[in-house]
């Protein structure tokens, strides 16, 4: 029995239930953060087995150790012991989907070559049984020479069974190269190991074979994995190794793969038996409909329409409750604390700013809830497949669909997800148009404007005008992304096209605990990460909007008294103070530039602060309007906007044209410093983020100008 604390790594293909096992093992004892310097998530936790505390790392999913993406590379580097921010695991649990055994064992056979103790976890045994697949774990164990445990991670008692197997495992290392590479492959590997890897890398002896195989099948160094002293010599050595295989009658790209699959086939031929199944499965029937060339895109559009309608209408009661809570909370603090600067700071700065963020939590949670359901059911991959033909026509790639859909949540993970697009041109176009997708940060502004200025008229019996406007804004973002992609397709030269290929996971009910856990995690990230910035900005804004303190002049009806032209007899002291504050002065300064868009100086302040993060706009307006609010008055931001009147014209500040112009500006402008930073990092150049900022903001200004001018003249 293992009495020493171990570092246990979970490895596996995507959609094998690896994260479910991680969650079941670690429970609440887990921490999710980014790896240093990059935005790949590192999931680490602890589990207690037989009274011993073990560390568990959930490595990013991968189909093989021949990495294509950054997250796969981190998994690879960790396993071969080259990643400085992660220790080499003492034990690797390779999680495989029992219903797709052969394909999953390909990765397992590679991990077995690394000289680390390996245990095979046959997960989703219930799914396999449903497909008529019977697996004998003992036979697989004796064929592969590693311990095998069959479980269904949904079942708690089976997690205990897994813990028991871990506890009893003697940590013996598997036999490397058990798949028996042929003579020419062995000779090619030896050449690369001796003439290149041993001389020019720090890769430990146990991992040199797997690195040699990776280089042979790739045929080149795909990126700067390690510092090359003589890259030319390395390439020549790889070519020489490939020639050895060609001379032996093999194909360097496929030699390893074919031998591994032969070995896997032999190992599972008796251990996994398939009973006769009906020729057309339920998945086939659903796919025939969902991936149909006509029905598929219609279904996809309906799914999006339902999703956004639901986000808007289901979240409303929760948002009203939060709004009320912050208004009442603010009033309580205002009445409890003595009057003064601290009272103002807490009520008008901190509580107003925080309330402006937290209120949108329900919508953010619903958005991620739906995204995780679409992923969990297997539909997301179908959406990518269905849209590939269209995406290719407009200059994008089928694989662009998933990053673009992730962009609905946040542009940053979406831009990171473009790493799955191997072709640089496809990738850069996807990055450049992705911020048009309506991210969750725009949601607060859309929700506020729609709730305040769009009537909730019922349309077609089931939809509301507000829901349709909300959906329309998302469609508007998609249309602009497509338009921009078509233009960029003409600008950027065509390179080597990367055709679409993706595994379609089997349809299944999502694991609800995972959906809820991941959704909650995203909500937490929104509140803590965005909230920190927004509260800080709200405090700064409170200061800028509250100082310098200016007394409203007394009305003196004497002709001899010099009249203050900025003073309006109908104005209240709070409004006068705000107009003369630092923020008011700055807003006034930029007002002539934004006036043609229908925006006043208060919106101007919001536009400036929202370049830090879009969602700051609402917090800013909340702070400004709270400061402007007369003592004892309490109303929601929505009411304040509806009732706001321009003291000079006596007309409402916000019309429907202003609201639409503002929403269009937010739909199109590049107002996110984090996105700019991530584009710089992903493209390794300031050229692309600069171009993105200029073209998106110019497009936003022109579009808002046209919308307001047309809208206000109708």
């Amino acid at each position: 029995m293992n009495k020493e604390p171990l570092s246990i790594a979970l490895v596996g293909n995507p959609n094998t239930g690896k994260s479910t096992i991680f969650n079941a093992l670690t429970g609440l004892r887990q921490k999710i953060a980014n790896y240093p310097g990059i935005t790949v998530e590192r999931k680490v936790g602890t589990t207690i087995i037989g009274g011993v505390l073990h560390k568990v790392i959930d490595l990013p999913g991968a189909y093989s150790l021949n990495y294509k993406k950054l997250d796969e590379r981190i998994a690879y580097e960790t396993l071969i012991g080259s990643y400085e921010h992660e220790e080499v695991p003492d034990l690797v649990l390779v999680v495989v989907d029992s219903s797709n055994l052969d394909r999953n064992l390909y990765l397992a056979s590679q991990v077995m070559d690394l000289g680390i103790p390996v245990m095979l976890v046959l997960n989703m045994t219930d799914v396999a049984e449903g497909k008529g697949i019977k697996i004998n774990p003992d036979l697989i164990s004796s064929s592969l020479g590693i311990p095998v445990v069959a479980i269904s991670a949904k079942n708690k008692t089976e997690i205990e069974k897994l813990k028991g197997e871990i506890s009893n495992f003697d940590l013996s290392k598997p036999e490397a190269l058990k798949w028996n590479p042929d003579d020419s492959l062995k000779e090619a590997m030896d050449l690369l190991i001796n003439d290149w890897i041993k001389l020019h890398t720090d890769i430990p002896d146990r991992a040199q074979a797997i690195e040699a195989l990776r280089l042979i099948s790739e045929g080149d160094f795909k990126d700067a994995f390690y510092t090359f002293e003589d890259e030319g010599k390395g390439r020549a050595t790889i070519r020489k190794a490939q020639q050895i295989i060609e001379q032996g009658g093999g194909n360097p790209m496929a030699a390893e793969v074919l031998l591994r699959y032969n070995f896997i086939g032999e190992s599972t031929s008796e251990a996994a038996t398939h009973s006769a199944q009906s020729e057309v499965s339920i998945t086939d029937r659903i796919d025939a409909f969902v991936t149909h060339k006509v029905a598929g895109p219609v279904i996809f559009t309906l799914v999006l329409l339902f999703m956004f309608q639901a986000i808007f209408s289901w979240a409303t009661p929760f948002m009203d409750m939060i709004d009320l809570l912050f208004v009442e909370g603010g009033n309580w603090v205002a009445n409890t604390l003595p009057d003064g600067m601290l009272n103002d700071l807490l009520v008008d700065g901190v509580i107003a700013g925080l309330g402006g963020v937290v209120i949108f939590l329900p919508q953010i949670l619903f958005l991620f809830f739906f995204i995780y359901i679409l992923e969990g059911t297997g539909y997301m991959a179908r959406a990518a497949f269905v849209m590939d033909g269209f995406m290719t026509k407009v200059g994008l790639h089928g694989r662009s669909v998933v990053p673009l859909m992730s962009g609905f949540a946040c542009a940053i993970p979406g831009i990171m997800a473009t790493r799955t697009i191997e072709n640089w041109r496809d990738r850069i176009i996807t990055i450049m148009v992705l911020p048009f997708m309506a991210c969750s940060a725009r949601l607060p502004v859309y929700a506020l404007m729609i709730a305040a200025f769009i009537p909730s008229t019922t349309v077609l019996g089931i939809f509301t005008l507000q829901g349709i406007t909300f959906f329309g804004l998302y469609i508007f973002g998609i249309v602009m992304a497509v338009f921009a992609a078509v233009v960029m397709k003409r600008i950027f030269p065509t390179g080597q096209q990367t055709p679409f290929i993706m595994e379609l996971p089997a349809y299944k009910m999502p694991k609800w605990s995972v959906v809820f856990q991941n959704t909650a995690e995203r909500g937490k990230v929104f509140i803590t990460e965005a909230g920190k910035i927004i509260v800080a900005i709200s405090i700064v804004l409170w200061f800028l909007a509250s100082f310098p303190k200016t007394e409203m002049p007394q009305v003196v009806q004497s002709e001899s008294t010099e009249y203050d032209s900025s003073f309006d007899i109908t104005e209240n002291p709070e409004s006068y103070q705000l107009r003369h504050s630092f923020a008011g002065r700055f807003g006034k300064m930029i007002e002539p530039v934004i006036e043609p868009l229908g925006f006043d100086w208060k919106i101007g302040i919001g536009l400036i602060t929202s370049f830090a993060a879009r969602e700051v706009m609402v917090g800013t307006l909340n702070t400004i309007y709270s400061i402007e609010e007369e003592d004892g008055e309490s109303s929601t931001l929505k009411e304040k906007l509806i009732n706001d009147v321009n003291p000079e014209t006596g007309k409402p500040v916000y019309s429907i044209a202003t609201a639409i112009s503002l929403m269009i500006f937010f739909a199109l402008a590049m107002q996110c410093m984090s996105t700019i930073a991530i584009v710089k990092r992903e493209t390794n150049s300031w050229k692309w983020p600069t171009a993105m900022f200029v073209y998106m903001t110019a497009l936003a200004y022109i579009s808002s100008f046209i919308a307001f001018q047309i809208g206000s003249n109708l």
Partner: protein, 72 residues
């Protein structure tokens, strides 16, 4: 032997030759679509859905043209 792109829905095939770019060969291979693998065409509407073993692969029409298959 014929390109996968002209295979019929429901046709049982054997993958004979992957005549595509080496990056695409690698991707197909790691997903289980290797020369000699047996599969079934689930759907062919320009793009193809091919069942190889228990893996269901969505393949673009351009790539499907470069995968040569023969009936089982």
């Amino acid at each position: 032997m014929h390109p996968l792109s002209i295979g019929k829905e429901g046709e049982e095939v054997v993958v004979r030759c992957l005549d595509c770019h080496c990056d695409d060969v690698c991707r197909l291979n790691e997903l289980g679509c290797v020369e000699g693998a047996r599969g079934r065409i689930i759907s062919n509407q320009k793009s193809v859905i091919l069942q190889v073993g228990e893996a269901r692969l969505a393949i673009a029409s351009t790539l499907a043209k470069t995968i040569l298959v023969s009936p089982q």
